[in-house]
């Protein structure tokens, strides 16, 4: 869009002037590290022998796709994201619908629901690690009262994944509730009255009016949660360190280990680059959906 007259040119110049500090800061703290990481990913760069002597081109990327552990971590992450987002959405929508019809004590419910969201993920991980301790945890104690368990929540390879999923849901479900509730309360009331008079049952109103009208909000909420779930790291670091074995080895934790445990920074950067592309693709889609709101 070309500036058409002196006033518009002046406005543009002023706009750039206002944006410069922010853009500069972003370039330094985000743009520069990303570019350097991408540059590093093109070299055989290890923390044992740091240096940019061995240019390998796409070699690190090829090795990443051939790396069984990376593929495994990607699969675990995909499962984790699907499980977390879908279950959170189901619970979140249900609770949001119920809260939307609640008149008394709405703020109290809201406050209670927001509490987990306000907690630091590290704290969440620590609390739940204690709750779920096989012998000292309160969860197994409560189960024993009804003659169940004990369950090795974080030590059993078959259970640990779902334990982490459950803790993440506990932590993040409020995010869904808050966003969906905001969407629901912004819906116009009149079409529902029209539908009631038109002869629609509550279920039909939900199906034919609520869902279609909520579609943009639902898409955006899901996408935001997907992006956040892909980069889940803290809970894994605190609760399982990817274990037992590699049962909960999410890709961001895997990349961290490749960089700072295996010290293979070049390959870790390549994997981070791949993750970045996936997240950018989702973000681009999110951006388009939000514009349609």
């Amino acid at each position: 869009m070309a500036a058409r007259n002196a006033i518009q040119r002046e406005d543009r110049r002023f706009g750039w002037m206002l944006m410069t500090p922010g853009l500069g800061l972003l370039a330094v703290v985000i743009g520069f590290p990303i570019l350097w990481a991408l540059y590093t990913s093109l070299f055989d760069y290890t923390l044992i022998m740091p240096g940019y002597e061995n240019f390998v081109g796409a070699g690190n990327y090829v090795r990443a796709f051939g790396d069984g552990e990376f593929i495994h971590a990607a699969k675990v992450t995909l499962f984790f994201v699907l499980a977390v987002v879908l279950i959170e959405f189901a619970i979140g929508f249900l609770v949001a619908l119920m809260l939307n019809d609640t008149e008394r004590g709405k703020n109290i419910y809201y406050l209670i629901l927001l509490c987990p969201l306000l907690m630091n993920p590290v704290v969440v991980g620590l609390i739940w690690r204690m709750f779920l301790h096989p012998t000292l945890g309160i969860v197994n104690y409560l189960l024993s009262l009804v003659h169940l368990g004990p369950v090795n929540w974080l030590g059993d390879a078959g259970i640990a994944f779902w334990t982490v999923v459950m803790v993440d849901i506990w932590h993040q479900v409020s995010f869904m509730i808050v966003l969906l509730l905001a969407g629901l309360s912004a819906l116009p009331k009149e079409p529902y009255e029209a539908a009631r008079v038109d002869g629609a049952s509550a279920l039909q109103s939900f199906w034919h009016i609520t869902l279609p009208l909520m579609r943009p909000v639902i898409v955006v909420t899901l996408l935001i949660r997907v992006i956040f779930a892909i980069k889940t790291y803290d809970i894994i670091y605190i609760m399982t360190r990817g274990g037992p074995g590699i049962a909960t080895d999410l890709v961001s934790y895997f990349i961290y280990r490749r960089a700072f445990v295996s010290l293979d920074l070049g390959e870790a950067c390549a994997m981070a680059g791949i993750l970045l592309i996936v997240v950018i693709a989702i973000t681009a889609y999110l951006h388009r959906s939000m514009r349609a709101l």
């Binding site: 009149e190 002869g199 279609p212």
Partner: protein
């Protein structure tokens, strides 16, 4: 087609505020009824209770003689057109109109037939595939009406459907609705705060104030004999002039002493008003009954001296606001040929056959016979 009866219907909100109090009203099958009143008078609440969108706190609502207080709106077979149209924003015009029919599981062929017919009638056939957001206000209004019409319901409830339209379109839709009612002969209840709509559209007007019915009657009857000063000042613009006056018995009959003028009460009214002699009353004079020539006023014309305060030339007529020497405000609706100028002293003539008197305490009309 349905008759609608309200028996001692009241609505009290959870907050304890009564919105509608003890409404008794019979609406005949096929009648065009108007609910008229200022905003907050309970007319929309009453309509919504008939539709089933508001619960009835006490009393009975009968449709075709059957009590329907606890019947779901979906099963009352009544259609409502909302003030803001309440179209389904994500559906096309066709889907909007088809929605209620699909829920009733009508065959697709029948749905298409009805939509085609009604769309043709309302001149929205070319808009069937558009979304409500792509329509103008008038088109949305017609679609909302169409959505009600395709259902072929027992009664139509119209909740100020014309209030969001511009003046010209409102006049057109007013005529359309009158024609529509004449054609369908379905019971219609139209809520409005616009007294022109009220006077022109309905067969009867139900005037409400503060949750209660003040008067029910044919538009001209209500205009001629307003039940109280509220109705008198609500109907018609400019509204009826109301002045406090004293009714005195003299040897020549009853005389009204108003601020700045005196008029004789015609002989035939004497018996009706005699019991109020010696008391204060509220004198009501319609602006259209005040004339600049005695001959135009009528055989019982009496002069009132006034000072002209403003002159509003509207084209077909001129509105004068004036003051009597006693400080009483009088507005007069006179011919466009009026030569009144601001500041002039003039004489207006009033034919006492058109006199209205209201009780000063209760503000109710003092009943009297009509003289033709």
């Amino acid at each position: 087609m349905a008759s609608i009866e309200l028996r001692s219907v009241s609505k009290i909100y959870d907050s304890g505020a009564p919105a509608v109090r003890n409404i008794n009203l019979d609406i005949a099958d096929g009648e065009f009824m108007i609910f008229l009143g200022p905003s907050g008078c309970g007319k929309s609440t009453t309509l919504r209770m008939i539709a089933g969108l508001e619960t009835i706190s006490s009393g009975d609502l009968l449709i075709d003689g059957v009590r329907v207080n606890d019947v779901d709106p979906a099963r009352r077979d009544i259609a409502i057109v909302f003030q803001n149209y309440a179209l389904y924003p994500h559906m096309s015009v066709r889907q909007n109109m088809a929605f209620g029919l699909k829920l009733r599981a009508l065959p697709a062929r029948e749905i298409d037939r009805r939509i085609g017919e009604i769309a043709e009638m309302l001149d929205v056939a070319h808009l069937l595939d558009r979304r409500p957001s792509q329509l103008s206000g008038g088109q949305r209004q017609r679609v909302a009406l169409g959505r009600a019409l395709v259902r072929e319901p027992r009664a139509f409830l119209l909740d100020e459907p014309l209030s969001n339209l511009d003046a010209k379109l409102r006049a057109v839709m007013r005529t359309e609705l009158i024609k529509l009612h004449r054609r369908l002969r379905t019971t219609m209840i139209h809520v409005t705060h616009d007294q022109v709509e009220a006077m022109t559209m309905g067969q009867r007007i139900c005037i409400m104030r503060e949750g209660e019915i003040v008067q029910v009657g044919a538009p001209l009857d209500v205009y001629r004999d307003p039940a109280d000063t509220f109705v008198a000042s609500f109907l018609a613009t400019p509204p009826m002039n109301l002045l406090t006056a004293r009714l005195d018995a003299t040897p020549d009959g009853l005389r009204l002493r108003a601020p700045g003028f005196e008029i004789a009460v015609p002989e035939p009214f004497g018996s009706a008003y005699a019991s109020h002699a010696g008391r204060d009353v509220i004198l009501g004079l319609r602006p259209e009954d005040l004339h600049e020539q005695a001959a135009a006023a009528g055989p019982l014309a009496q002069p009132i001296s006034v000072a002209i305060e403003t002159v509003e030339a509207l084209g077909p007529e001129t509105i004068l606001t004036t003051k009597t020497s006693g400080g009483g405000d009088l507005s007069a609706r006179v011919s466009e040929r009026s030569e009144a100028r601001i500041g002039q002293a003039r004489t207006l003539y009033f034919d006492t056959r058109h006199l209205h008197l209201f009780d000063a305490q209760t503000t109710k009309l003092l009943p009297r016979i009509h003289i033709h």
